[in-house]
């Protein structure tokens, strides 16, 4: 078959180098692949869902088998999701696999990004790929948000309302930009079909392009590797693409799909029939977005009622947590490779990775950032925590208000100290000591290698 392709595309010479290409063999290098395979699952299940979903906010009367909604006016979009869930064979399992996969998709991106961050894999020449990855992260968030808003249920519709309000909060331009985005004053009938276009056409297209760039750059630059015997900045040591890495990757793809399939078939997610169709005049509690938007939700809940009016311009209390905070976070994260270069004055090429302990400041800052995001995310569920532990929600809110300011610097500093400590003692908690290699030196003594 290779010959057949070769006679038409000259594939043989490419294949020879490609199939023999060496990839370092560390488990943490597979985390990004989990994200990639989640995307594949999302595409596959997504196509199925698209064939049944109606991106139409016009009202219809629900006449399906779910009794508590029968006879009610709901949007055609909502009705199509109910029909898919209750009347299409394999519809509900496809929908649930799709949604679980979305949650894991973003989780895997975050874990992968953390690995890249803490090992310094974003350093030259990989700054471009870091930016491409940031783009993928933002688009993944966008896909999730647009996706779970498509069923037009009470919970996700409330999320749209909050997003609209955050945009309105932008000084001067807010109300106009929000009107452009939504097609008028909230609620609008047109928003559902616009989200559909973003979710099914625009964003996936860009994501596919960025993934191609992400993998292409990785292919061109070759993967990084951890330092070790025989490893230098000028080589890559690992297993060849064919058959080892390809087998491992294919196996991982199937296993990722397997895990999500089992969860999708057995654990309920996003039961839109319980929330009911979106109406702008009520909301149920607790009201949270999917987990990856939780940090914004937490920020909005924790930010106090501080709404100054400066020179006639009011800064709504949603502006700082809803617009400024994410803007700042994303900007710093995106520019991190350049910030670090400037600060360390290290503009050299790096193909060998750091262990987190090798750069304690970066590790400390990273830990602080992650802890901050985690605390915000937990704070987004303050009323669920209040219910679960029978603690007044006000107390939980105050706890998190203080915690997000105090704990990240504390744990960041702790991470910094631990990294220094690990450097000094050369103790790796997970690595098995395999013994020490000694080499006779010229003076007759022994050196460790």
């Amino acid at each position: 078959m290779l010959g057949w392709l070769d006679r038409r595309l000259g594939a043989d010479s490419w294949a020879r180098s490609a199939l023999r290409k060496v990839f370092p063999d560390h488990w943490s290098f597979l985390l990004g692949e989990i994200a990639l395979f989640c995307f594949v699952i999302l595409l596959a299940t997504g196509v199925f869902l698209t064939l049944f979903y109606r991106p139409d906010a016009a009202p219809v009367v629900y006449e399906g088998p779910y009794e508590p909604l029968r006879g009610q006016d709901v949007s055609a979009a909502y009705e199509s999701v109910l029909r898919l869930s209750f009347e299409v064979r394999a519809g509900l399992v496809m929908r649930q696999i799709h949604h679980w996969s979305a949650l894991v998709f973003v989780a895997a991106i975050v874990v992968h990004m953390a690995r890249v961050f803490f090992t310094g894999a974003f350093r030259r020449p990989r700054e471009i790929n870091w930016l491409v990855g940031m783009g993928l992260l933002l688009l993944a968030l966008g896909m999730g948000f647009t996706g779970y808003s498509l069923p037009d249920d009470l919970l996700s519709g409330t999320g749209l309302r909050i997003a609209y309000s955050a945009v309105v909060a932008i000084p001067f331009l807010g109300p106009y930009v929000a009107s452009l985005a939504f097609g008028g004053e909230f609620p609008t009938e047109g928003i559902i079909s616009r989200l559909f276009v973003l979710h099914v056409m625009l964003f996936p297209g860009i994501i596919i392009g960025l993934i191609a760039a992400h993998l292409g750059i990785l292919w061109r630059q070759k993967h990084t590797q951890f330092p070790g015997p025989g490893r230098t900045e000028q080589n890559v040591i690992g297993k060849p693409f064919w058959p080892v890495q390809l087998f491992k990757s294919t196996g991982l793809m199937l296993l990722t799909a397997a895990v999500i399939a089992v969860i999708g078939g057995t654990i309920q997610i996003n039961p839109v029939w319980e929330y009911g169709p979106f109406v702008p005049t009520t909301v149920s509690a607790p009201a949270q977005p999917d987990w990856y938007m939780g940090w914004l939700e937490g920020a909005i809940r924790l930010f106090p009622a501080f709404e100054p009016t400066i020179l006639g311009v009011t800064i709504p209390s949603t502006f700082i947590p809803g617009i400024v905070l994410p803007g700042f976070f994303i900007t710093v994260l995106a520019l991190w490779p350049f910030i670090e270069q400037r600060v360390t004055r290290d503009y050299a090429e790096h193909h060998l990775l750091d262990y987190p302990r090798d750069f304690p400041v970066r590790t400390g800052v990273g830990v602080a950032g992650i802890v901050f995001a985690v605390l915000l995310t937990l704070a987004g569920g303050n009323d669920v925590l209040a219910l679960a532990f029978s603690i007044p929600v006000e107390a939980i809110t105050w706890f998190f208000r203080i915690a997000v300011l105090v704990v990240p610097p504390l744990l960041g500093w702790l991470g910094y100290r631990i990294a220094l400590e690990l450097q000094a003692t050369d103790f790796h908690p997970l690595r098995r000591r395999k013994g020490v290699v000694l080499r006779r030196n010229a003076e007759g003594g022994y050196d460790e290698v």
Binding site: V283, P286, D383
Partner: protein, 242 residues
């Protein structure tokens, strides 16, 4: 015995016989009041007019007393404790007596009747979404409603509990003036929520995306990272290294 003494004896026996039923009646005439004095008056006042420990009960009606007593909320473990569902402190007869007594203290809502035969589940779900879900949750699993108040889960409730709560507004709950049909519809939906099986599988709390996020991380990501560790450690015969 002299005729005079005989007459006096007859008179006193007659008097005794005549008044005994009256005495006996005044003891059992108001058993509710007796129990009230013994168990409730220390907080609610001797005439049910309230003290610093408990509110005025004049006008709360039979519905309120019946709700509080049948669900065990009253009597409280101690003054100021939160009213929560707990085992009843009284038997049916005692509750009936107390309810009658409290109802007699003023004009208040009577115990409603619940008839689910013509209940409209769809109407019920709409009314529930518009009036109840903000506090009790979309699936009636309960919710935090500020400070020390928690709208309880309705999954232990009987139909009459729900109907009574709506018209009496216990604790921080507002009072609702639904008509009988609306009330029956809502009760029917609450019972539906109580008995339903989640169509999607395991109902992880029924409180929305928060537990879903926890599962995605604590279950899916953990399993996947274990898998990745396993795959990364696949040694061929000549061993592996980092």
């Amino acid at each position: 015995m002299t005729p005079r003494m005989k007459r006096a004896l007859l008179l006193s026996v007659a008097l005794l016989v005549a008044t005994t039923p009256a005495i006996a009646q005044s003891e059992s005439e108001d058993p509710g009041r007796d129990i009230f004095i013994a168990r409730c008056a220390s907080c609610h006042g001797a005439e049910g007019d309230g003290t610093q420990f408990g509110p005025d009960l004049r006008g709360v009606g039979a519905a309120s007393a019946d709700f509080q007593l049948r669900t065990g909320r009253m009597p409280l473990a101690e003054p100021g404790a939160q009213t929560i569902r707990k085992p009843r402190a009284f038997n049916d007869d005692q509750i009936h007596a107390l309810v009658t007594y409290v109802a007699s203290l003023g004009d208040g809502p009577e115990i409603p009747t619940v008839d689910l035969t013509d209940a409209d589940l769809s109407q019920g779900s709409q009314l529930f979404a518009n009036n109840c879900a903000a506090c009790h949750g979309a699936t009636a699993n309960g919710g935090a409603v500020g400070e020390n108040a928690f709208a309880p889960t309705l999954h232990s409730s009987e139909p009459l509990d729900v109907a009574e709560a709506m018209i009496t507004g216990p604790g921080q709950m507002p009072v609702f003036a639904f008509d009988d049909q609306e009330s029956d519809d809502i009760v029917a939906y609450v019972m539906y929520l109580k008995d339903r099986r989640a169509p999607g599988g395991l109902d992880i709390g029924g409180v929305g995306p928060v537990p879903e996020g926890y599962v995605a991380w604590a279950l899916a990501m953990v399993i996947l990272i274990v898998i990745v560790l396993f795959i990364g450690k696949q040694k061929s015969s000549d061993g592996d290294e980092h």
